[in-house]
Amino acid sequence: MTVTTTGKWFARPVAAAALRYGLAFASIAAAMGLARLFLYFHLPQPFAAFALSAIAITFWYGGNMPGIVAAVLASTIRYSHWSEAPAVSRAIYDLVFLIFAFLMMAINRSRTELEVRVAERTADLTRANKDLSLEIAQRNRAEEKLRQSEAYLAEAQKLTHTGSWAWDVAERCALHLSEEWYRIYGFDPEEGMITWEKRLERIHPDDRAGQQQAIYRAINEKSGYEVEYRIILPSGTIRHLHSVGHPVLDASGNLVKFLGSSTDITERRQAEEALRQAQADLARISRITTMGELTASLAHEVNQPIAAAVTDANTCSRWLNRDQPDLDEAREAASRMVKDATRAAEIISRTRLLFKKVNPQWESVDMHQIIREMVAVMSGEAARYSISVWAELAAELPEVMGDRVQLQQVLMNLMMNSIEAMKDTDGPRELIIRSQITENGQLVVSITDTGVGLPPHQANKIFDAFFTTKPQGTGMGLRISRSIVESHGGRLWAADNSSRGASFHLSLPTKVKAHE
């Protein structure tokens, strides 16, 4: 009986049947031999013992059938060699052998069961081992991927100068600070976790209040926050930081921690500043260029009061040179002269203001006043081409935040363009400036003319840099105007009128009253 189960380590060799049965005979023969030997030496004859051992050995190593064969053999030998024993003792011996044989069979079965169980266990263990190895391999791969991904993340943080962080709200301590975070703040990673206070120290004193306020508000409202502040590195350098944080709540809705990132935006700030400066410079140059173009009309404009002054001075002399000088008339002429000269001075000073190099100043501006001023500035040029100029302004004027010189420049540029468009046209030449407030609180200023209109299908292209229809044009005026308006949060666009000419519209956001 060979028991076959899974596992090669269990297979009992079937081919060794000869060996197994041979074992039966051999063991009994050995038992017999030993008994003879003992007999020879006049020792007690324990053939039974030897026979039982032989049977046991055969059962164990040979299997059940060979064992039975051995038992039968032993019994037979007993009969043949010690036949003088009485039948009872013979029967008892046989019974003993039988019982022994059964016992051995039982033992064999147990052994088989045990072997099966062991085999199963071994199979299980091997399987488990294999699974475990697979899992370990998988885990290793995953760890490798994680390491890889962390390396990429760290690299990305380094490239973008962004450090990630996590702060525990209750303990006010850091749970995670990335490598880049340390680098940004100028801390040494070897120092371990940086405390709240230590970090606070690095923040610029002027910005501490604002930053704290933002965080406390976020804690109270359990909301995210975004804040910008400066830090001072140990070397004394100032860097600009932009920090964003999200709250993490637990199951019961309590605030546990904040996760977020801090980015060093110093380069960006500097670039923005440089850009702003460049724009201001470009705008100023454009302004000067336009003023240059206005020189002719400026000369004419100033000429008027000067000519009037000359006439009035002559008149005054005439009154005084009479035989009877008329002092009242002379005085009147003289006072007219004063008015003339004052007007001339006013024109000059108004123009000089536009040449001044002013740094961009953000303040509350009165758009209506700016419109009135620019109408005055351009009146000379308008008169030169027989253009009527007037303004239709909204009754109410909301506050607009902006740089007044830049806004003046936009209006000047647009009015100049309108005058250009009407220079050579027939029919009435009108330049109208309107202001109105839209439903959503925007201020819209429209400059309408009765000129040649926009180039066909290019209502937006005209705002491109270097686009010009003038032979001597720079093509920058509208481009600069648009970027000024956009930097004020507004829009500048153009459209043909339904009748003659075109209109330019600019919208500006109005100052909203702060509720907080």
Partner: protein
Amino acid sequence: MIANSQSIIAAVAAERYFVTMVVQRKAKMVAIVDDDELMRSALQGMLKSVGLPSRVFASAEEFLNSGQHQQTACLIADIRMPGMSGLELQAKLNAEHCRIPTIFITAHGDTKMRMQALRAGAVEFLAKPFDDEVLLESVRAALAN
């Protein structure tokens, strides 16, 4: 037109004294048309100082609408004005056969414009700032005709 001719004949026949009398009796006006207020006052003051009454108008339209052109003996006008220009006014008056001696004073004096104005019958074309005496001569000349 006919009235003017009569007074011209009368004036030529008489002495300067009579000329003055005739001019005063007919109350001939000098009209000043200029959009610049300071210029208007200066010109009016100047004419007053030589005893010539004048009327001022802020625009060519105002002058035409006033109905004074029949009484106007001399017109001093600016060229560049919003709305109707001085040259357009001249053309309009010519079209109505209202030949008023016109003196143009302007800050934008270019030769082309000067030619155009003189060809259309202007008495004089002066650039600002002008010499008072030259203007007065032209006015007197215009009134003498």
